[in-house]
Symmetry: C2
Subunit: 309 residues, 2 copies
């Protein structure tokens, strides 16, 4: 199988493991062969497909919406997650490490914030946000923060007959706004947390409750199973809420953020997954050592040379 298109990947253990797995998977009659129907590859998004520091792209979108709600109803200001609007960092940190109460309160607040909004209106709101949002350090729009090596990996997998899916705890419908142009994936290949919809005056509108679990932890393989009828043969993630997804796959790829010059170096919220990867022998990708290019676009702001925490 030609690997000429994995050009942002350095020759090393990670690239070798990927190429070996994908090559064997395509070789009928060998022990590593994966029938074409089973070639389902699933990627987490934040921290796996694009930069998630200092906060995931979607965070300010949600906080802006919550701020508007606090303005309408100031009594909310003391509650989680609305306290984060006023700058309470403890909530954002709890969310970052996927604290269960933080996640639940966020899911409820998001559900309430967009209840009754049509899908079209939600998408337009997300698209406006994405059009103006810029990364505070790199000056790039969100789509420029996508990891170039992962786009090459998508192409490499697709060329070998794999169907690529993205499954993220972040809102499914938020990601779908960029999935086609940025990842080359049709919207149906983006799965994960989403509200129920109901028909109002002939228009589908968001309901406050989630349709299914939050797509973190065991919720991820549950979504993959429900959508594809299979568990993944290939999965990629980067933090502790990806453990179950990675464990459900035949080939697991863990992104390790260790490059504070070209990206960020951090371990918060990834302790358990890294320990599991060591124990299980999963393939790990060092951003620093395995990727010779990181971001899809060139940062537009000059980089301070000091390491960024």
């Amino acid at each position: 199988m030609s690997t000429s298109h994995l050009e942002s990947w350095n020759d090393g253990a990670a690239k070798r493991a990927i190429v070996d797995f994908v090559t064997s998977a395509a070789a009928e009659g060998t022990p590593g062969f994966v029938p074409r129907a089973d070639r389902v590859a699933v990627f987490d998004n934040d921290g796996t497909l694009w930069v998630e520091k200092p906060a995931p792209v979607q965070t300010a979108f949600i906080l802006g919406k919550l701020a508007a709600r606090v303005k309408e109803d100031p009594s909310l200001a003391d509650e989680w997650p609305y306290r984060a609007v006023a700058g309470d960092e403890s909530f954002l940190h709890a969310l970052e490490v996927q604290d269960a109460d933080a996640v639940t309160s966020m899911v409820e607040a998001v559900g309430a914030a967009w209840e009754g909004t049509s899908l079209d209106a939600y998408e337009a709101e997300a698209a406006r946000y994405l059009a103006s949002w810029r990364h505070e350090r790199f000056g790039l729009p969100a789509t420029g923060l996508v990891y170039q090596p992962m786009l090459e990996l998508f192409d490499y997998l697709r060329a070998a007959g794999w169907r690529v899916f993205v499954c993220s705890g972040g809102g499914r419908d938020f990601m779908r706004v960029i999935s086609e142009e940025t990842w080359g994936l049709p919207r149906e290949n983006v799965i994960g947390s989403a509200p129920e919809f109901a028909w109002r005056d002939g228009v589908p509108v968001r309901q406050a409750v989630l349709h299914g679990p939050v797509a973190i932890g065991p919720g991820k393989p549950e979504y993959v199973l429900a959508r594809t009828g299979r568990l993944p043969r290939f999965a990629a993630g980067n933090d502790d809420v990806d453990v179950e997804l990675l464990a459900s796959a035949q080939f697991a790829l863990l992104v390790v953020h260790d490059d504070d010059v070209r990206e960020y170096a951090y371990t918060d919220g990834a302790e358990r997954v890294r320990a599991t990867a060591r124990r299980e022998g999963w393939t790990t990708v060092s951003v620093k050592d395995d990727w010779n290019a990181v971001l899809k676009e060139r940062p537009t702001q000059e980089e301070p040379s000091a390491p960024h925490q």
Copy 2:
């Protein structure tokens, strides 16, 4: 666009309307152009893709399971839908015309019957049933009852860049057992009614409750929207629970069962959809006049020449 592969379709209004729509959809710069990302085509299954008379293929599978439950707990025998096991035809008729109480009681009974069953075990059970089941009149296995013209339409649409989905009120996981071989569709393109799953000892098992609505009526476009992020541009159905799906599409195709020699002629449960089709100008397919071949396989039993009701 070559139509050479729609060979089971007679030249007539239905074929012309399909070809016109698909041809325009591919022609950039014309008013009928449909962007590639929006080319989502959705088909109902029972009565749209295969024979649903004298009862849908899945019915005896479910009744067999319910019979086993009645054996274990004879007190169930008097309740809907278990009464159908003993031959109460009123229930099956109510189900056929999608009576809401009948549907609800069936959904609950099915949920209870397979609660705790792993997906693998459920699929094996369905596969065993399908391997031995034969149509009482045609002697064919279920996969032989698929309408040949619809398989050609799948190919025609795919060749024109459409993504084809099946959305049926019948169990999603039952259809997925045959989707790849029979329709050439990956499992993820089969959407519709399905239970929630939970992890038990590392294995995903069916829960009693449905994950989302039953995929009939408004449930169909809801599933399409959730799975694909879009409403369909092309939809095909045959009975009253398909009205909302057809109404949500740009191009709607209604199969009219009017051929009691090669298939069945019936109107039950299709009165509303036919009236809507006339009012809205939907394209209708007469099995008798528009298809020069109906079933994928040749019936293995000799056909009594008397019309079958």
